[in-house]
């Protein structure tokens, strides 16, 4: 089955395909709430290679943060569970590790940073001491080597005033420096993969740009893998190599960053980009997507975007198109428009 929109971009040489650093497939997560079981994730899959930044993009409630929590096995409540799927990191399946085995992975192999550094930094502890604690806990350095390791971590987050920052409490730092301190802590054990959940959403635009440059730099310099979770397509365009779009708990499209922005396929992706472009161009009437996201307590049969879609067909009500999303291809969309071999709308 040939896909003309893929063929159109074949001018660029495809990357040689090394074994992925992280390989997630068939991931389904259930949250038990008082109103019933919420199917927060349904058959989510993606891969991250070394030296590559991928974006998981979507709107609030689409499951992007839940994806990160499922991978790290830090779900909100004890009653929540990953119902199925695999999470292979450097060849090991994280879902079958013991809790103590998983604890060694978190922070050391895979680190995570968040939107609001203030809630992940201890307000009563100097920044330098907090970073030292992480390093000591993972046995990466101790005694005399510890101070040097803390300074290295702060330096790798491009903090120029290392001594002042190390000796400060979190509240004494600006928002941008706090996020850098959190990044320094995440980098302290030299993780192979960094998961960043809305890392710049709370920051001003000028600070945001610096933090994004830092993340991109780390990916290239350390050959680290980066999973950037965001709702902001401007951030995606700035930092990421490939894009996974989530909608209502499912991955509905994946593509290289240029393909995605130039030729989005899924009607939802197209709606998002059209909306953003009309805003940037100052159109008198902005393009928007009508309707609201479905309730995940009782997701609709067939395509979850169907009720909001202008291209809906009979098949869309009957069969879920995302089950046939092909992760082996350069790009694919979980949409019946692209399953008839035409690739055209």
């Amino acid at each position: 089955m040939s896909d003309p929109s893929t063929a159109a971009s074949a001018g660029r040489t495809p990357n040689p395909v090394p074994a992925p650093l992280l390989d997630v497939g068939g991931l389904s997560t259930e949250l038990r709430t008082r109103k019933g079981v919420v199917h927060a994730l349904d058959n989510v899959g993606f891969v991250v290679r070394r030296g590559e930044a991928i974006a998981i993009v979507g709107e609030s409630g689409c499951g992007k943060s839940m994806t990160a929590r499922s991978i790290m096995r830090v779900l909100p409540r004890s009653t929540d569970r990953v119902a199925s799927g695999h999470v292979r990191f450097a060849g090991r399946d994280l879902l079958s590790l013991s809790e103590s085995g998983m604890r060694k992975v978190r922070g050391a192999d895979i680190a995570m940073i968040f939107q609001d550094p203030m809630s992940y930094l201890d307000p009563l502890m100097r920044v330098g001491d907090q970073i030292a604690e992480v390093i000591r806990a993972h046995g990466k350095a101790s005694g005399e080597g510890l101070e040097k390791a803390v300074e290295d971590a702060l330096a790798s987050a491009r903090i120029s005033d290392i001594r002042r920052v190390a000796g400060s409490y979190p509240h004494q730092l600006s928002g941008g420096l706090r996020q850098r301190a959190l990044i320094a802590m995440a980098l302290a054990c030299e993780p192979e993969l960094l998961i960043a959940d809305e890392p710049t959403t709370a920051l001003d635009v000028t600070t945001q740009k610096q933090i994004l440059q830092l993340l991109r730099h780390l990916v290239e310099e350390r050959q680290m893998g980066l999973v950037l979770i965001t709702h902001d397509l401007g951030v995606v365009a700035n930092v990421c190599d490939r894009v996974y779009v989530m909608y209502a708990g499912q991955v509905i499209e994946h593509a290289g960053v240029h393909d995605f922005f130039e030729r989005p396929q899924h009607p939802y992706s197209r709606g998002l980009l059209a909306s953003l472009k009309s805003l940037c161009e100052g159109d008198a009437h902005l393009s928007s997507i009508p309707g609201v996201v479905p309730n995940l307590l009782a997701p609709p049969a067939g395509c979850r975007f169907r009720a909001r879609c202008g291209f809906s067909m009979d098949v869309c009500a009957k069969q879920d198109p995302t089950v046939r999303l092909d992760h082996g291809k350069d790009r694919d969309a979980g949409c019946w428009l692209f399953k008839d071999g035409s690739g055209h709308v």
Partner: protein, 284 residues
């Protein structure tokens, strides 16, 4: 002069400076300093700036949610800051506010109809129950919540973010104001919904001849709803003028920096050229 609906002169707000509780003197913090602008009838004026620039303070000063420590506010030709009691109550209806987070600005225990009835009662028109019900429904229809009966008896928690913000707007227009002061009204909304709400702001202005003071950190949002824009930094207006002119030919270095830092949804701007080295800019 007749078409100026709001005139702000030398407006300022400083905190502290007096003796603190324990006898030490508190340092003076200036949240806004010498802010001046005029808003014409039917005009939409944007205020843009980063956090701490004083843009939200200005919104609170011109609506008298916070009392200024300097300057004057003239609303429909009258000295707004000198008003008291009944006069203040009636003039306050002319300038209504819409907040960023409708979840925290709507009373969670009131139904949508009750929330909109508040400003209607404040108008003291002695409406019959039937008229009141129709008025509530009309305002819900005005903001695109159709059919209104589907929303009147629900609570804020039952609505999506976009629907809640529409209720916030309905409550503001229920007072039949001349001016709406909107403080980051779409920042908490998702991209696809953001466009719907911005369209609503534009439609309402055209239909009702409203004037806006529209506060946002997002230049694209300002471009889509404003005629003029004031750029604020550290409590001061550093540049003010037509949106197109300011965004296309900014004269103040801070404005230029804001424009250069806003990210475009276009990877070719970033990814085809070598990355600017992150180390080149020292951390602040």
């Amino acid at each position: 002069m007749s078409d100026v609906i709001l005139s702000v002169r030398g407006l300022g707000k400083s905190y502290g400076g007096r003796r603190g509780l324990l006898g030490g003197s508190m340092p003076v913090k200036r949240a806004a300093e010498d802010v001046s602008f005029e808003l014409h009838r039917g005009e939409s004026l944007g205020i843009v700036g980063e956090s701490g620039s004083g843009k939200s303070t200005v919104a609170r000063l011109i609506t008298r949610l916070v009392e200024p420590t300097a300057g004057s506010v003239t609303l429909a030709g009258r000295d707004f800051l000198a008003m008291r009691d009944e006069e203040l109550r009636s003039y306050r209806q002319r300038i209504q506010m819409v907040f960023q987070d409708p979840y925290s600005s709507l009373n969670p225990r009131k139904t949508i109809a009750e929330s909109i009835r508040g400003p209607l009662l404040e108008r003291r028109e002695r409406l019959s129950q039937q008229d009141m019900r129709e008025r509530v429904q009309r305002h819900l229809r005005d903001v695109g919540l159709n059919p209104p009966e589907r929303y009147t008896e629900r609570f804020p928690k039952d609505l999506s973010g976009g629907q809640r913000q529409r209720v916030g707007i309905a409550r503001a227009i229920a007072a039949e104001p001349d001016i709406i002061v909107a403080d980051e009204p779409v920042s908490a909304l998702d991209v696809s919904v953001r466009a719907q709400v911005l369209n609503l702001f534009n439609d309402l202005r055209a239909r009702k001849g409203l004037s806006y003071v529209f506060i946002s950190h997002d230049l694209d949002v300002i471009r889509s709803v404003c005629d003029r824009v004031a750029v604020m930094q550290a409590g001061l207006v550093v540049e003010i003028g037509q949106v197109r002119q300011i965004l296309d030919q900014p004269s103040h270095p801070y404005t230029r920096q804001l424009i250069a830092s806003s990210l475009r949804p276009d990877p070719s701007l970033y990814r085809d050229r070598p990355m600017e080295r992150a180390g080149a800019q020292p951390a602040r």
